[in-house]
């Protein structure tokens, strides 16, 4: 598809050259002894470990577990964040009711809740997913709230004139109108979900890329450790690209509209 091709070709020549240069550095520094090769293996060694991990499907399995957990938590966060954000942004008594609680819960670092999640869920997927959901809800909620508050009243009046019920107003006018704001929250939370899944897995999981990194670290399999780290980086990168493609597709109207309004 045109947009996929365009997204991939985003990097220009100079950027590719820099990357190449860094990779060459990565190869030379350990090999020449300037950097201790045991703890910082050359690029080729890491790549070999990565390909071995892919061939044996071990890395792929761990990656899919992490992606599953992150995605699950992210989806739950979207559900909760958009719903609460819309309601607090449009209905006065809801925002009065929830504001203080939200303001107190929001600054809590999600990983500080790890002990609670372990006590409640052991080390199952629910442990990871609950923390991911907690951490990812807030950016979405806050941005949705801002978006809901900024909906043009004439759009609402127009919908009311044509007989829209309260629920139709929220679904068909407020949420679409607030989408540009919501998307900002979605983008932040996507990155957050990867961070949180990695950290929770490192702390107390027996599966997933975060666990894999700690396990290879403890087992002194350093090139494999690096391969796990790179894989997570690649997963994050790929998800971001997918997000950008989706945003291009669905939010094209917003770019055109804001350009016209200037």
């Amino acid at each position: 598809m045109h947009t996929i091709r365009r997204a991939i070709l985003e990097t220009r020549a100079s950027g590719a050259l820099l990357l190449l240069f860094l990779i060459v550095l990565w190869e030379i520094l350990p090999r020449s002894g300037i950097v201790y090769a045991r703890y910082f293996p050359p690029f080729s060694t890491v790549m070999a470990a990565l390909f071995e991990g892919i061939r044996s499907t071990e890395i792929l399995k761990q990656a899919s577990i992490s992606i599953y957990r992150a995605f699950y938590g992210y989806c739950l966060a979207i559900l909760i964040g958009v719903t609460l954000g819309t309601l607090t942004g449009t209905i006065r008594w809801v925002s009065d009711l929830l504001e203080i609680t939200i303001e107190l819960l929001r600054p809590m670092p999600s990983v500080a809740l790890v002990p609670i999640a372990i006590l409640l869920f052991g080390t199952s997927n629910s442990y990871n997913i609950s923390i991911i959901t907690f951490g990812c809800t807030w950016p979405i909620l806050v941005n949705t709230y801002e978006g809901a508050k900024s909906v043009d009243t004439q759009w609402i009046d127009t919908a009311r004139i044509y007989g829209a019920t309260r629920s139709e107003l929220l679904r068909k006018v407020v949420v679409p109108a607030a989408l540009p704001y919501i998307v900002s929250g979605l983008r932040i939370s996507l990155a957050t979900s990867i961070i949180i899944v990695t950290v929770t897995e490192m702390l107390a999981s027996f599966k997933g890329l975060g666990f894999f990194i700690m396990d290879t670290y403890n087992g002194y399999r350093i090139p494999q450790m690096y391969s796990g780290i790179i894989t997570i980086g690649l997963v994050g990168y790929a998800l971001n690209r997918l997000f950008m493609i989706a945003e291009e597709r669905f939010m094209a109207w917003h770019k055109g509209w804001t350009a016209k309004s200037v």
């Binding site: 043009d152 004439q154 759009w155 009046d157 127009t158 919908a159 009311r160 004139i161 044509y162 007989g163 829209a164 139709e168 068909k172 006018v173 679409p176 109108a177 989408l179 109207w253 917003h254 055109g256 509209w257 016209k260 309004s261």
Partner: protein, 279 residues
């Protein structure tokens, strides 16, 4: 020539009737009256225009009539049934077209929006939407986004939405105020065409006296704030109207003279009392 309407109209039940509608704003603890005592009626199939001095509460009046704003006092009846919320028989078309259409929907989907609650199949809805757009000469623009269209075209889409919904009565709040003069003449004729083709009933508010006379069967002149109906004038100019010949007609000029004088008076009264504010 200037006939004051009275019990003549009681013989047919009016489609829309406003009775002593009042609307008071509270600003900085002070009561600011916008509409004082608005009483009038509109019969089925009529084209009625409301004119008045600037700032006399024309937009407020329309919003109260359709209950987007609740009147402080008084009642509004549709087919003699009192209403308490925006009724499905009535549609209001706003002055600011750029804020009327949803920018996240295409032109066609904007029109489809008003049909989504109606009991029709998807195909029927699309057909109705398309013919509404055709009635305003916008066929071919279905898949454009509103901001890709000119101001006049956007206002036409808003009108197409009204046509597609097919209400009993169409309220229009200075719908052509924000477009250029040439587009305005075209839109005036377009609305007359729609009015006769779809046998609509229209209540249109405007500050443009000539526009009011050109379009209407009957013109209601508002006083300054707090506004009341100062005078009702039957417009006896025959149909169909024509931008050139109608406006050269002797009677058109007399109507214009009379209404302009009235509005001037009301405007000056308002200034002296220092009550009028920008809407």
């Amino acid at each position: 020539m200037f006939v004051r309407l009275e019990a003549i109209m009681k013989s047919t039940t009016p489609l829309l009737r406003a009775e002593q509608v009042r609307r008071i704003y509270v600003r900085d603890g002070q009561e600011v009256p916008a509409c004082a005592n608005i009483t009038f009626s509109v019969n089925k199939g009529e084209f009625v225009c409301i004119v008045g001095p600037s700032g006399c509460g024309k937009t407020t009046l329309l919003k109260c009539i359709c209950h987007l704003l609740k009147p402080t006092d008084g009642k509004v009846f549709i087919n003699e049934r009192a209403i308490d919320r925006p009724p499905k028989e009535m549609i209001l078309i706003f002055q600011d077209y750029s804020r009327s259409l949803f920018p996240w929907r295409t032109v066609l989907k904007n029109v489809l929006f008003v049909l989504e609650k109606k009991n029709m199949t998807r195909k029927e809805r699309v057909d109705v939407a398309r013919s509404a757009l055709a009635a305003v000469y916008l066929s071919g623009f279905e898949n454009h986004y509103p901001w890709e269209l000119s101001g006049g075209m956007q206002q036409r889409v808003a009108i197409a939405r009204g046509i597609a919904f097919n209400p009993d009565i169409l309220l229009m709040d200075e719908p052509f105020a924000s477009v250029d003069a040439q587009t305005r003449s075209d839109l005036e004729d377009a609305i007359l065409e729609i009015w006769s083709k779809f046998s609509q009933t229209i209540l249109l508010v405007t500050h443009d006296i000539e526009e009011a006379i050109y379009l209407a069967d009957r013109v209601l002149v508002l006083s300054g704030r707090p506004s009341e109906i100062r005078e009702e004038i039957q417009i006896d100019l025959g149909r169909p109207r024509n931008q050139l010949t109608t406006k050269e007609d002797k009677r058109f000029i007399e109507y214009r003279h009379h209404i302009y004088t009235l509005i001037r008076e009301e405007g000056q009264k308002c200034e002296r009392r220092d009550v009028c504010q920008e809407e």
